[in-house]
């Protein structure tokens, strides 16, 4: 057991830190609207690419750095420390790309992978449907032969970034077989007639995900990934990469806690006394601090297992269930410290306050995305603890 960086990892950390120190301050603040944020982000992604920091863990032959998972984690840690922009290419670089590296044809790799790393193309994921969320195999979107290619009919939902994506990874039914058979995995060009993206307004009014109606959309013959009818296997790899991306991802609870502590330090209660003297506030903050610390340590455990080539154990399965309520509670506590002004329309209020409100609402989404809390508990009980299915 040793939590220090190995010599080469420590050297990598130094290099990254120095690079970020000179690059990050040149960026202005991120725009609020997704469409504007994408254009603001692209030059940054280009600089990452040129400096060799895009696709860190991708193999070198596909434009990546071939870095270890530990170095990838070090890179994200240093990005967080330096206040670097959040990633907008999580779907492309995090799981569509790795899926293509594993299952794509040579032509698909040449055509798509580099453009993911340079930030030219953003991707989205057309998996979920109104009747097929956690039960993904219940999907009904259909692909039928249409000359050399396929014609797609169906409806997808909860699709993040569909409004800015050039391509989608798409699951559609191509056969009559059983649930898991007869599903194929495609690459769908998003900018074409027959693909209708309709934003879904969230509770707070913003629109970050969408419904996507597929009415005669066309997939060319060379954009099938893996075997016809063998899409379930490919999708399982994608979901594996997705979970890894979530587990090693960027809800930076350390930064959140630092901001929460600063908020409490400056705040006064209704009695005019510093809130930091209130025993309840102190206890609650220390409790959240405790859980933040453990969440980060569990992240290190998962990385350590991955770095040694092992499959992560129970700690990886529990990470999402530990993290989601933690983020919700940190944000809720911040809002309770702010008081009623924390409930003002985000657009009308101080940006620092609006951030807590947005995060608090987003966190509710996290407990649904990638398998709801209830589904995750079932998985944990059945697969880790060996309890019977109901």
């Amino acid at each position: 057991m040793d939590f220090r960086d190995a010599a080469e990892d420590a050297a990598f950390r130094e290099t990254v830190r120095a690079w970020l120190e000179s690059e990050v301050p040149r960026l202005g603040p991120a725009p609020d609207k997704l469409e504007e944020r994408v254009e603001w982000w692209r030059p940054w992604q280009r600089r990452l690419y040129e400096a060799g920091y895009a696709g860190l863990a991708w193999p070198r032959e596909y434009g990546g750095r071939g870095a270890s998972v530990l170095q990838q984690a070090i890179f994200y840690e240093e990005c967080d420390r330096a206040g670097a922009p959040d990633r907008l290419d999580v779907i492309g670089a995090g799981f569509a790309g790795p899926t293509l590296i594993e299952h794509g044809t040579a032509a698909q790799k040449t055509r798509f992978l580099d453009r993911i790393l340079t930030g030219e193309d953003l991707w989205c994921q057309l998996f979920s449907e109104p009747g097929a969320g956690s039960d993904l195999a219940a999907l009904t979107t259909r692909a039928t032969r249409d000359g050399e290619g396929w014609r797609i009919e169906g409806q997808k939902v909860w699709t993040s970034a569909a409004q800015v994506a050039e391509y989608a990874i798409l699951l559609a039914r191509t056969g009559e077989g059983e649930r898991h058979r007869g599903i194929s995995f495609f690459i769908l060009p998003m900018r074409q007639p027959g693909v209708d993206v309709r934003p879904l307004r969230q509770m707070l009014g913003g629109a970050e995900f969408n419904e996507v109606f597929l009415d005669g959309a066309h997939v060319p013959g060379d954009l099938l990934v893996g075997q016809l009818g063998g899409g379930w296997k490919v999708a399982m790899s994608t979901l594996g990469y997705e979970r890894a991306a979530i587990a090693t991802g960027r809800v930076n609870t350390l930064r959140l806690l630092d901001e929460l502590i600063a908020l409490v330090r400056d705040a006064r209660g209704a009695d005019g006394l510093p809130l930091g003297r209130d025993a309840f506030v102190r206890q609650r903050l220390a409790e959240l601090y405790t859980r933040m610390t453990l969440q980060r340590l569990t992240g290190k455990r998962i990385l350590s297992t991955l770095a040694e080539g092992g499959a992560p154990g129970p700690e990886a399965s529990t990470a999402k269930l530990f993290t989601t309520p933690l983020v919700e509670e940190i944000c809720d506590f911040a809002l309770s410290v702010i008081g009623i002004e924390g409930q003002e329309e985000p657009a009308d209020t101080d940006p620092a306050r609006a951030k807590w409100l947005r995060l608090a609402y987003q966190a509710r989404g996290t407990s649904i995305a990638g398998g709801t809390t209830f589904i995750q508990r079932n998985i944990l009980a059945e697969r880790v603890l060996g309890m019977p299915r109901d």
Binding site: T290, M387, P388
Partner: protein, 360 residues
């Protein structure tokens, strides 16, 4: 960066687990408790030289460090062992004395003598607060220290007295003269406590610890209690998963009910987080990292509460049988509740964290 046990650590864990199963199983622990005599376990622990795990070999110990000690205590928790003698000896007396110049001599004597010492502080508070309300006149000590872990039966006492910032350590080598120990009965009968009354008892001041040294010594005890609670929680979850898999209601095992599965899954979430905290703290204390003490507080506050939550879930999932004397769950349940308070409640450690976070 590596967050995993090495081969020797895994062998140590397996050896302790096997020895416990073979020689100190639940049937034996129940017998010792019924007879109100835990000395067979003390002798067993001494025979296996467990007091010396985590103590350097050149000092007469078994080698290893805090990670090995934590592993041992996790296993002791899994077996709900009457581990007070090891906690008071290895964590308390040795942990405090090892920090003194000349502490090595003291260590060797204690290890050769088979342990049997108690750290003479009120066990409901962090040990770095020392014993309050003791008067010193020359080499004579007077006062009452309530609720001392393993005081009954101790051959000698190590008494930390608060100075300005740190602690003076006094050895009371003879508990027969000027020392009166009144046993306390606890609902966890696998633990011995007693009130220590000193009347002109002869003491030897063997050295003093700085405030920082005292906090580090206490952090080791906090860590070991946390590790033990982790072991308790793991075993309670195992017992529960096994029971609900066998118990049939409405024609199916109750383990197939979603509510039951969710309670078990949430216990596992708690346990894995506690594991991360305990073993990072153990490593950080071992390596003298600046954040070691803070992480020991974090581990103590979280793991002991996680064990209590697991205990309550386990009790509920066992139904009425779990509430009986006959069922083993009670042994673990009571220990989990005791460990919550032992050497500092979660509340007291969270208050310390709030100090560190400078919340004025």
């Amino acid at each position: 960066m590596r967050f995993a046990f090495n081969e020797e650590q895994e062998m140590l864990r397996d050896a302790i687990r096997v020895a416990m199963q073979r020689e100190a199983g639940l049937d034996k622990i129940r017998r010792w408790v019924d007879a109100a005599d835990l000395s067979p376990f003390d002798a067993f622990a001494v025979r296996n030289a467990w007091m010396g795990i985590g103590v350097a070999e050149e000092l007469g110990g078994q080698g290893g460090g805090r990670v090995e000690q934590a592993l041992m205590f996790e296993e002791l928790g899994r077996a709900v062992a009457p581990s007070g003698v090891l906690l008071a000896g290895a964590g308390g007396v040795l942990g405090f004395a090892a920090r003194l110049p000349g502490g090595a001599e003291f260590l060797r004597e204690v290890l050769d003598g088979g342990g049997g010492g108690a750290l003479c502080v009120p066990a409901g508070r962090p040990a770095d607060q020392g014993a309050l309300q003791v008067q010193v006149a020359g080499d004579r000590l007077s006062g009452v220290i309530p609720m001392v872990l393993e005081a009954p039966g101790a051959s000698h006492l190590l008494l930390p007295l608060p100075t300005g910032d740190g602690l003076d350590l006094w050895l009371l080598p003879d508990v027969k003269s000027g020392v009166d120990i009144k046993p306390r009965r606890m609902i966890d009968r696998t633990r011995r406590f007693g009130d220590v009354r000193l009347q002109q008892a002869k003491g030897i001041r063997i050295g003093s610890l700085s405030g920082e040294g005292a906090r580090e010594a206490n952090a080791v005890i906090a860590l070991l209690v946390a590790a033990e609670s982790l072991g308790l929680a793991r075993r309670m979850l195992d017992l529960t998963v096994e029971y609900v898999g066998q118990r049939v209601q409405f024609g199916v095992p109750v383990a197939s009910f979603q509510a039951v599965k969710h309670a078990a899954a949430e216990a596992l979430v708690d346990i894995e987080a506690a594991h991360s905290g305990v073993y990072y703290a153990a490593w950080a204390l071992q390596e003298g990292q600046a954040d070691g003490v803070l992480h020991a507080w974090i581990a103590k506050a979280f793991a002991t509460e996680a064990a209590v939550r697991t205990a309550d879930r386990a009790l509920l999932l066992h139904g009425a049988i779990g509430y009986t004397w006959e069922h083993d769950l009670q042994l673990f349940y009571k220990r989990a509740k005791l460990n919550l308070e032992l050497f500092g409640s979660p509340r007291s450690y969270r208050e310390r964290m709030a100090e560190v976070l400078a919340l004025h």
